[in-house]
Subunit: 227 residues, 2 copies
DNA sequence: CGGAATCCTCTTCGATACTG
DNA sequence: CAGTATCGAAGAGGATTCCG
């Protein structure tokens, strides 16, 4: 692909021309978490080569999905950030993530997992209807520097915040444990008892945490996987 | 691509592995409109070669998105249809179409346009909140056999039906005219006066038709297009 | 009609090296 | 660090042929 175009007058075809190249969607995923430098992106996307990443960033910039900003004097760095148009991909990513969650299965041994993705999961799987008015600090173990974010339920649905707010309870666990909690694949009590989930604060609130999110149940993979 | 996998434990990566190959998403688009035969799909996807189409159908079947059914004695035909899992892609397609609609611009001279896509547009852009309780028959001109579908507003949102129902009014126009109407890029009165939009029935209802849908306004393409 | 198999071409990719 | 340039290898795609 490159300037590939389907010769079709259709919004889905247009969107796919933009996002359908390999790695492109994952670049957008990373930028949903905030502005990143070239080498940040490379580290977070294991397997992508410099030339391909540069190519994809170029396309996305050219098409107005992201902006390439040079941070001027103090920190001599250049970062990529989603444009206003690019940020409107969030609902698309949310639906796509909901679909993908059914097929996720278990991690393979060589699968990369980025602690920051849990924050993204919080954003994308956030319930959009009213949720319990509780606030949580979530700390993802195993990251340096630590990933920490805040989740707050309310009448307008669940919100994920980057900056601190008053919380009822703090949760701390490995990414996979937090994912199991959010997706209801493990009971909060069990996780706490086993020590996989550390809790500080009003421990009873923990049971309300999964209800803030809407992660579809996995689909049994009845299809074979003859690789 | 083929059995390509991103080595990432992430729902978006999984979904992209499934849908990211060229043509794949457009195959799903066509099947959202109903079961199709191999050559139907080829005709509706100008530019795809038999081998690529067969390859994509094979992948989608293997991964449980679609089913290959042999219609037995009477009509000796074999058709492809979305599985239950595949049908759950509809919300994804709806969000993606909303995004793509901003970038759609004007049709290029060689752009293919399928009358049936208007039915799909009705489905994907249907408003999900309560809409005016009016029913419309929509006839897309220039198709043989004619494409016809029914749209009904109501407290549960807009519904698109394939089978006839009592309607207040019938609209008949070319695909681009209907699209302009749905997306509010042309006023109903103007279209009627110019003769581009033919109306039978309670003509005053026509003005309520666009309100049944939620098509985002186009984004001005500030990016250059040096092809 | 509904594809599978073959051949050949055009892209695309990754590694390495190089530049500001 | 933040990329660009080059080049060989791998892969994807199109056309054609053939078979049920």
């Amino acid at each position: 692909m490159g300037g590939f175009r389907y010769a079709q007058f259709c919004p889905l075809a247009r969107a796919t021309e933009l996002l359908g190249e390999r790695w492109t969607l994952l670049v957008v995923r990373e930028l949903l978490l905030g502005a990143q430098r070239f080498s940040d992106l490379r580290r977070r996307l294991p397997g992508v080569s410099a030339s391909v990443l540069a190519d994809r960033l170029g396309h996305l910039e050219q098409r107005g999905i992201l902006e390439h900003r040079e941070l001027p004097p103090p920190a001599a760095a250049s970062v990529y950030a989603l444009s206003e148009l690019g940020r409107e991909l969030e609902p698309v990513m949310a639906e796509l993530a909901r679909f993908g969650a059914r097929l996720l299965g278990d991690p393979r041994p060589d699968d990369h997992i980025e602690p920051d993705w849990l924050r993204l999961a919080g954003m994308l799987f956030a319930r959009r209807e009213a949720t319990a008015p509780r606030a949580f600090r979530v700390r993802v173990a195993g990251a340096e520097p630590a990933v920490e974010f805040f989740v707050r339920g309310g009448p307008a649905g669940t919100q994920v915040l980057d900056s601190p707010c008053d919380v009822d309870v703090t949760l701390c666990a490995e990414p996979l444990v937090l994912l199991a909690l959010m997706s209801r694949r493990a009971a909060p009590d069990t996780l706490v008892e086993s020590g996989a989930l550390r809790v500080e604060g009003e421990i009873a609130s923990v049971c309300e945490f999964p209800a803030l999110f809407d992660v579809p149940a996995p689909t049994p993979n009845d299809g074979e996987d003859p690789s």
